[in-house]
């Protein structure tokens, strides 16, 4: 929490205009926006936390749960879309039983949807903790997930 305080102190003028930069700053430092941090930002900027949550969910970039041990980014750019990334996402959500933006209960995996990550040749593509996996199919996806699960044991 002290962390959040330090971040807020950087923004001398507590004005609503600073809301997005503050949220970005917090996410960068904490990895996500916790309830506590949102409430704290609210009391600093004199904004109800429902408003802040409303603004933050308007953008895709904010997450509200800590990242999992293995953070999966799935590309939903045009090339990946054309080659079926929608199905990949569906499959991923089904296998992990979470929605994009969420983290599995055991804290192992988190899913983030990103716009084009510039690897169109590999479409449809996902990354796990920065490592790229190309031409994903439901089967290869399952293998990748199993692989990481095993690594953990």
């Amino acid at each position: 929490m002290g962390n959040i305080k330090n971040i807020l102190e950087k923004y001398q003028e507590p004005s609503r205009d600073n809301l997005i930069p503050i949220l970005q700053d917090i996410q960068e430092n904490e990895g996500y926006l916790s309830k506590e941090s949102v409430v704290q930002v609210g009391s600093y900027l004199n904004l109800p936390s429902s408003k802040i949550y409303g603004v933050a969910t308007f953008y895709n970039q904010f997450r509200f749960l800590p990242k999992g041990k293995f953070h999966i980014q799935i590309c939903r750019g045009t090339a990946c879309h054309v080659l079926g990334s929608a199905t990949v996402l569906q499959e991923l959500e089904k296998q992990l039983k979470v929605k994009a933006g969420e983290t599995t209960r055991d804290g192992l995996f988190s899913v983030e949807v990103v716009a084009c990550i510039g690897a169109c040749g590999l479409a449809p593509v996902i990354t796990v903790n920065g490592e790229f996996f190309a031409k994903i199919t439901p089967d290869s996806l399952q293998a990748i997930i199993e692989d990481y699960k095993n690594k953990e044991q």
Binding site: K35, V38, P48, S50, Y53, T57
Partner: protein, 574 residues
């Protein structure tokens, strides 16, 4: 600067700063609106109010577009009418088709618009909304499936109530209305006022219903079912039932409730008199002993929760008196039970209230005495009507009856609780008598009456100069409370009602109440006061009897145990 604009080939006068919709309304031209809320900034969310601007050839939203000299507007051209119809069809495309099962059936703006625009077939088929109900609150039920995202609830919650516990979450076709972190309403700062229900055009917002429990209590031979109704009910139920607005339906209400099968019927105005006895004594004690001032009324459970969340530093200023609803329950289940020889556990107490927050209040843990809660179930004015219908009561063909006794008699001071300023006036009348031994001249304090957001005045009671303030609408109270926080010292007594106009404008009242009807309700309450002779709580013979036979003194030991309580800071997501 005044000018004219051309509407439907007629020159209409317009004033600087008006929107097209303002001009249309003044000239008696009706265009449909959904997201529009009077006295709020237009959001342009729904597009229902579009008109055709003949000069630019565009369809523009009349609620948000400023009128300008020389405009040429068509409100019902073929193009406009068709576009409006499409908008409605789109709204319906993902809307559940369960009008037959919906609480708002026949009083739904979406349904009305669809009828007005001759939507008689399903042209556009979308995926139906599938969302879970939020049943977490003791008062309010949210059904996101029926939400058309007009945003009125968000606006009223922020601008009129100063709460802001809900907002738009996500965007595009994933958008919905929810609380911070999309948690249940019960963990949010929602004060249960129900004003969002009052503005919702559809069945997405309703009150939590307890019909089944009440019915089974009525059918249970071993239960004595007692009902009380709030001061404002008899003057505000007309619109729901289809009687003439502004009538005092007191007598027929008693008769109707008896027909339903309630064993004893009381007017909460009696308990309002009781509240006044305690509250005026508390005020005098606080002034004499130089305790925390200003004292702030605590009859309004919306305001009490707001205080616990946003102004917990002012909790010592809250009067410790329970609200009339709770006091009524408390004396029915003790004094009355004793008198009638009924086991308090066998009494089921129903309260008919203009208010959804009363449902929350009834289930608060502070409101339980020796394991028995003061009040068991609360019905809103709207639910009352439904209940009467269920039991086949014909309100057009019924002879007036009186309430039961004791605890049935009321002064007109107690009745005034229904309007903003009423508690203040009633309390001052009794405080005046207690301090001087004389009644207040003319009894009335016109300065605290009416619909203004804030009413302040000085009252002289012998050598005591009392500064009093009355506010209605939670957001207005906030301004005053900040002044108190900042050290304002010239006010000793404050009345706060969360809803605009007080209980007559409560969140449990008829949906679609207009300003004229609201004003009529207030007038009827004050007319009752003008007409009747028992104008002060302390002269109510049944109140006097209650103190003589049971309570002893105001603020005495028994009162303390049954009629007073304490509140605490509440941790919620603000």
């Amino acid at each position: 600067m005044n000018y004219t604009i051309n509407i439907n080939n007629k020159e209409c006068s317009a004033e600087q700063g008006e929107t097209i919709l303002d001009v249309l309304k003044r000239n008696g031209i009706k265009v449909p609106t959904l997201c529009h809320l009077k006295e709020s900034m237009p959001t342009g969310a729904c597009r229902m109010c579009i008109v055709e601007d003949m000069k630019s050839g565009k369809l523009i939203t009349s609620c948000s577009f400023p009128a300008a000299p020389g405009m040429e507007i068509k409100t019902h051209s073929q193009r406009v009418v068709e576009a409006r119809k499409t908008i409605i069809e789109l709204l319906l495309s993902n809307h559940p088709d369960d009008c037959l099962y919906c609480v708002r059936d026949k009083n739904c703006e979406l349904q009305n618009l669809s009828e007005e625009h001759h939507v008689r077939e399903r042209r556009i088929r979308g995926k139906k909304n599938k969302e879970k109900l939020d049943l977490s609150s003791a008062s309010i039920v949210r059904d996101p499936e029926k939400c058309i995202l007009c945003g009125r609830c968000v606006t009223i919650c922020e601008e009129v109530m100063g709460v802001s516990c809900i907002d738009f979450i996500n965007r595009g076709n994933k958008a919905f209305i929810g609380t911070s972190f999309n948690q249940g309403l019960n963990t949010s700062s929602c004060i249960n006022c129900g004003q969002c229900i009052m503005v919702c055009p559809t069945g997405a917002l309703t009150e939590k219903n307890h019909f089944a429990e009440i019915q089974s209590a009525i059918n249970d031979q071993n239960k004595t079912v007692v009902v009380q109704y709030a001061p404002s009910i008899s003057v505000s139920m007309s619109e729901e039932i289809g009687l003439e607005p502004g009538m005092d339906n007191n007598g027929i209400l008693n008769a109707a409730l008896r027909k339903v099968g309630f064993d004893f019927i009381f007017d909460s105005s009696f308990a309002a008199d009781l509240t006044i006895m305690e509250e005026s004594a508390e005020l005098i004690r606080r002034i004499t002993n130089e305790e925390t001032l200003p004292m702030i009324t605590s009859c309004c459970p919306g305001w009490v929760k707001y205080a616990e969340e946003f102004y917990s530093d002012l909790i010592p200023n809250l009067s410790t008196c329970k609200s009339p609803q709770q006091m009524m329950g408390a004396v029915v289940k003790t004094y009355f039970a004793e008198k009638q020889g009924i086991n308090p556990e066998d009494i089921y107490m129903v309260a008919i209230m203009p208010c959804t927050a009363k449902k929350f209040e009834a289930q608060r843990e502070e409101m339980v005495h020796k394991g028995i809660s003061d009040v068991d179930a609360v019905l809103t004015t709207r639910e009352l009507t439904k209940f009467l219908k269920l039991y086949g009561v014909d309100m057009f063909n019924i002879d007036p009856e009186v309430t039961d006794s004791p605890l049935g008699f009321r002064s007109s001071a107690g009745k005034m609780f229904g309007a903003s300023g009423g508690v203040m006036e009633a309390a001052i009348r009794t405080a005046h008598f207690k301090l001087t031994g004389k009644e207040l001249v003319n009894f009335t304090i016109p300065q605290v009456r009416g619909f203004e957001k804030r009413k302040e005045t000085q009252i002289k009671i012998s050598d005591l100069e009392l500064g009093v303030a009355v506010v209605n609408g939670m957001a207005n109270a906030k301004v005053l409370l900040d002044e108190i926080r900042a050290g304002r010292k010239d006010i000793q007594f404050i009345e706060i009602m969360a809803c605009p106009g007080g209980c007559i404008g409560g969140g449990g009242q008829h949906i679609g109440t207009d300003d004229k009807q609201l004003a009529q309700r207030m007038k009827t309450l004050y007319d009752i006061d003008k007409k009747e002779t028992l104008k002060v709580s302390h002269k109510n013979p049944e109140i006097i009897e209650l103190y003589q036979n049971f309570l002893g003194e105001p603020l005495g030991h028994k009162s303390h145990e049954l009629l007073h309580t304490h509140y605490q800071k509440r941790d919620v997501m603000i």
